[in-house]
Subunit: 348 residues, 2 copies
Amino acid sequence: MYCHIIRAWIDIVGMEPNSEITKEKYGVDISSIREAQVRIDPYIHKTPVFTSGSLNDMSRRKLFFKCECFQKGGAFKFRGACNAIFSLNKDQADKGVVTHSSGNHAAALALAADLRDIPAYVVIPNNAPNCKIQNVIRYSGQIIYSQPTLQSRETTTARIMQETGAFLIHPYNDVRIISGQGTIALELLEQVQEIDTIIVPISGGGLISGVALAAKSINPSIQILAAEPCGANDAALSKAAGEIVKLPETNTIADGLRASLGSLTWPVVRDLVDAVITVDDQEIVEATKLCYEVLKVVVEPSGAIGLAAVLSDTFQNNPAWKDSNRIGIVLSGGNLDLGALWDSIRGP
Amino acid sequence: MYCHIIRAWIDIVGMEPNSEITKEKYGVDISSIREAQVRIDPYIHKTPVFTSGSLNDMSRRKLFFKCECFQKGGAFKFRGACNAIFSLNKDQADKGVVTHSSGNHAAALALAADLRDIPAYVVIPNNAPNCKIQNVIRYSGQIIYSQPTLQSRETTTARIMQETGAFLIHPYNDVRIISGQGTIALELLEQVQEIDTIIVPISGGGLISGVALAAKSINPSIQILAAEPCGANDAALSKAAGEIVKLPETNTIADGLRASLGSLTWPVVRDLVDAVITVDDQEIVEATKLCYEVLKVVVEPSGAIGLAAVLSDTFQNNPAWKDSNRIGIVLSGGNLDLGALWDSIRGP
């Protein structure tokens, strides 16, 4: 398919040389990420870093898996949500927060709001899968159903904001969210010495922006690679085009990676992400299996894509990455419907 | 069923008061476990301890999950196997090792033998599930098929020993195995302060014997509770009878917990295990689900039984354990056939 061509485009377009990372330029700098780290420290799990001899052998590298599946709420999203909610002043916070994301961000926001004892309103399309609804309910989020169209979600969200005064917290195009996600890189670089490359799933870009801003501030030579599904390759296309490209539709098993870049995340991806590696769904499923069978970690397909990238021919055969030897891989989340597994596990 | 009655029997029989733990008495003492810790330290993963607010709320306790699913080979068995293999002198080791266990012990033994670069012969019944065979092959174990009868397994094993001079390493009735498994308790008590109770799956008793010997040597007031399936409740019956009881057949989803106690493990279970909590298969499956959905840990049903025990009415309603507040739970392993899950995860 076109996956492998993308890389050639990127080679032609070339990478921006690393430039100074300032708050003026990106809205976030290392100090905002360090502040986030202090702010969320009492609430988050410091997630472990896993290694596996088998996966090192397979990838011919030393891999360090930053296991955000074990984060509260089951995904890295809790870091950003927590930073955003605990950044609000009391008057703002008392009115609650609202989002119309129905995935991991919604559950994370509900959980963080519950910790601050403020309401979280979550606008969810009335055809959303039950497991996502249950994740929000589990953390005391208040669900408001909309029609399954973007317009309905937005008008419903606007109505909630007007009625309650709740503060809208975007899942990724928000400096507090980006700063919160960046704490992953601070932790990883404390936990493992001499990381030379970090591979991060890319969707709306909040996670990779935070990681890139933190890591490149600490060590500009660290390579930041985005991992993206072929069927939702807007970041690869955007990098190649030099501007945000939005896809009319996406087609991938990695359902958490279908968002488009935002106005805050695009400049970071443009300047600080060294390349985008696209992988197909079969590679994603194989990587997911390896996470379960070798690492024994419950990960959703979107969360395993970094492993898929490092095992891909695109990565393995490209001389650009022959010196990438100590690679951090963010396993970003572990929320998925495991019903088929339970159906298969029955007593005698 | 009869599960809840067992507890009453135990109350009547009563617990042995904690007695002096010596090598003369049990074949293993704290010094052999500390020696094992030093011996296996270069090879094993020091597994993390996980906590979960949700599971603390459900159990009304503070739970500390010692995640041996993340051990090399996917189960605690690697500790004992590693200690046994690296305890052999060179002449013994050169001839290799043999076992006729086909489960986690076989894979662990193959992996440890591979590290010492000696052969591991594994006698497996010709009807064993493919995933178990693959686990042994993955670690370069040499498979010898027997008929699926105990007699055939034993005669085949005897033949291998005669032909090769290989050293037989029993999966649990072996002081080196017990000492290796005991290192779990040393680690747990270093990682978490003021543990007052440890819940451990029981099968042949190697794991719980090691844990009990280590923990009670360090702090005799720590309660050691065994978790056992109703359908393989020989340990509960043995404790009640005051002698080893073997079941004519077992019937449980927890396929790793069907062995009977051995001559070395029974005295430890008799004297140092404070009680056996039996749970039914439904409780085991529910606990397994919680491990995946809340902890995001891949665990086999046998490995999740400790969580089932602490959530059971048997535990929750018994005043004997009202002061058990900081509870270590050994999640013993994560090797299972996940085929149904992969069948359900498909690209669009």
